[in-house]
């Protein structure tokens, strides 16, 4: 035990923290994409695992072809947008249930991503190409600043869009589709537009992560939906605790990014504790399951048959 603790190096944790912050800021964009499908449209969109890798694959291959590392990120977003439109088409025009249409797109993207890259992974020749979102410790400050600016931009964009006539119609579609149709809203188009926007954000994050880690891998998006949800939920719990009733919409979006940062800080910390990296996805899934279950169990505790039976039995005991 003592040997374990003495093997932990506080300086290593200090050195790893900026990397966690950078990754959190980048994954925050991904989490905002999940926010659009999961919270605004009430659509559990499984496409994102595929579109995250798609963003990465597109970015790396275009960089290898000599394009500007900023411009390729725009193409990544557009590719993600297309993936979202395919899922929306499967769901609204072909009547396939929401989760299944996402899974179908995700699984087809696995093949598509392999075709884009020609093999399972492709690296950016770091020596020859200067990328702007880099994990190189000398330029990490620049990466963090750039990611922060991008986060502010994405939050501002989503806030603006959801406030417009079109965005309001999209929110109404997620809350009450019957009412929306009665108000003349084409709920099918709203879902397709929302999925396109959500996956554009996810693929953008995928492209940036590929630049950050210096390569794209066909499996890099695996489980990203769970990480996105983790960020979303951690953000919501923190916002509820810290801001409470005065929570407005911008703050709610900002807390989604803070949720992603907290997730990656914890990730860095747990790795520093020498937790095996292979088990991180298991840990993430457990954290998400707990956070999703807590509100349900809380409700159940105050409002359940077995609880009533226990209370009645106790009252009976007292009488006897």
């Amino acid at each position: 035990m003592a040997a374990y603790f003495s093997s932990l190096n506080p300086v290593a944790l200090w050195n790893a923290a900026p990397g966690g912050l950078a990754q959190g800021l980048i994954w925050g964009i991904m989490a905002l994409g999940v926010y659009i499908s999961f919270r605004v449209l009430n659509f559990a969109d499984m496409t994102v695992d595929g579109s995250f890798s798609l963003g990465g694959a597109t970015a790396v291959m275009l960089i290898l072809a000599g394009y500007n590392p900023h411009v390729v990120l725009v193409v990544s977003s557009l590719a993600g947008m297309c993936a979202g439109i395919v899922t929306g088409f499967l769901h609204t025009k072909l009547g396939i249930p929401d989760i299944l249409s996402g899974i179908l797109t995700q699984i087809s993207l696995y093949s598509i991503n392999l075709n884009i890259m020609g093999k399972a992974n492709q690296a950016i020749p770091v020596g020859q190409v200067q990328v702007y979102f880099t994990s190189n410790i000398r330029y990490l400050g620049q990466t963090i600043a750039l990611a922060l600016v991008l986060d502010v931009f994405v939050v501002a964009f989503i806030y603006w869009f959801l406030g417009t006539e079109l965005g309001s119609a999209m929110r109404a579609t997620g809350i009450n589709p019957n009412m929306s149709r009665a108000q003349g809203i084409n709920t099918d188009s709203m879902k397709v537009i929302g999925l396109a926007l959500g996956n554009a954000a996810v693929a953008l994050a995928g492209g940036i992560i590929a630049e950050y880690q210096g390569f794209a891998d066909v499996k890099m998006g695996q489980g990203s939906i769970v990480i996105g949800l983790a960020a979303l939920i951690i953000g919501e719990v923190l916002a509820e605790a810290l801001v409470g009733k005065r929570l407005n919409f911008v703050v709610r979006l900002a807390f989604t990014i803070i949720g992603a940062i907290v997730y990656y800080m914890v990730y860095v910390f747990v790795l520093w504790l020498k937790f095996p990296a292979d088990d991180m996805k298991l840990l993430t899934a457990i954290v998400v399951a707990i956070f999703l279950a807590v509100p349900y169990l809380k409700e159940k505790k105050n409002n359940s048959f077995s609880g009533l039976a226990r209370r009645n039995a106790k009252a009976q005991e007292k009488e006897d």
Binding site: G163, E165, S168, N178, S180, A182, Q183, G184
Partner: protein, 262 residues
């Protein structure tokens, strides 16, 4: 204003649950006519409402509003013609959005939704005036979520939203059935007021015979997917609940407890 021509609808055709819900129904409402629809369970009164609103397409027949055949349009495409209030107070509004946001959605019924801001200051003032006319104090709660309102408040708001852009036809589908009697009376009073003020052509489904007699200037009774009784003007004013029950039994309909007791 509203013309329904020989519409038929069969649910689950070819199965053991096959049900002929509308059997060659025709009905014409003149401009400004306020028609109540009454009938037992499964008579087809909500079905005719859904057929007009376009929840699903009818099997045969056509629906014409103000000279335009709309039977080939989907639900959202024909929304510009109708204001709708539903039986369930949860159905007519978006619970997780503000009162003013809900009203802004309704005020854009039938308009292109653009990237302009969802609600502007001028509109907000108009909404405040409209809400004030409801006399429920909602004008002070415009940035409250609609989910926080009571069932009666939500129905009153839905009614307001259905009529703030004047619809060609107002469709009320048992919109007071889920409310307590006192609140129901208030919502009906508001209905009468808004229909009269705007001279609205209205179709109102109800299971309450007294309401059907006391409101509107025309009454139709349905049974087994057909209109079996159609009365308007002076004749309707003289109508009694007993007359309706008699008519109903004549047609071989079963009087449900809900109808008899109300």
């Amino acid at each position: 204003m509203l013309e329904i021509r020989n519409i038929c609808k069969t649910f689950n055709p070819g199965t053991i649950n096959e049900k002929k819900a509308l059997d060659d129904v025709s009905l014409t409402l003149a401009d400004g006519e306020f028609c109540t629809v009454i009938g037992g369970n499964g008579a087809g009164k909500s079905t005719i409402m859904n057929a007009v609103a376009g929840v699903w397409p009818v099997d045969t027949g056509s629906i014409i509003v103000d000279g335009t055949d709309i039977s080939g349009l989907s639900e959202y495409q024909r929304a510009p013609y109708f204001g709708r209030v539903f039986q369930d107070p949860m159905t007519g509004t978006a619970a997780d959005m503000w009162i003013e946001e809900n009203m802004a959605l309704a005020s854009r019924r039938g308009k292109r939704r653009t990237l302009r801001w969802g609600v502007n200051r001028k509109e907000r003032e108009e909404y405040r005036k409209l809400l004030k006319s409801l006399d429920l104090g909602l004008e002070y709660r415009m940035t409250s979520k609609v989910g926080l309102l009571s069932g009666g408040q939500r129905q009153a708001l839905t009614l307001l939203m259905a009529t703030m852009r004047k619809p060609k036809v107002l469709l009320l589908d048992e919109h007071t059935a889920a409310l307590d009697p006192k609140t129901a009376a208030k919502v009906l009073e508001a209905t009468d007021r808004v229909v009269n003020e705007n001279h609205l052509t209205t179709l109102m489904v109800t299971h309450n015979m007294k309401d059907a007699i006391n409101h509107g200037n025309r009454l139709i009774m349905m049974s087994d997917g057909r209109i079996i009784f159609d009365v308007s003007g002076e004749e309707k004013k003289k109508l009694k609940v007993a007359d309706l029950l008699e008519k109903f039994e004549e047609a071989g309909g079963e009087v449900s407890d809900r109808m008899a007791l109300s």
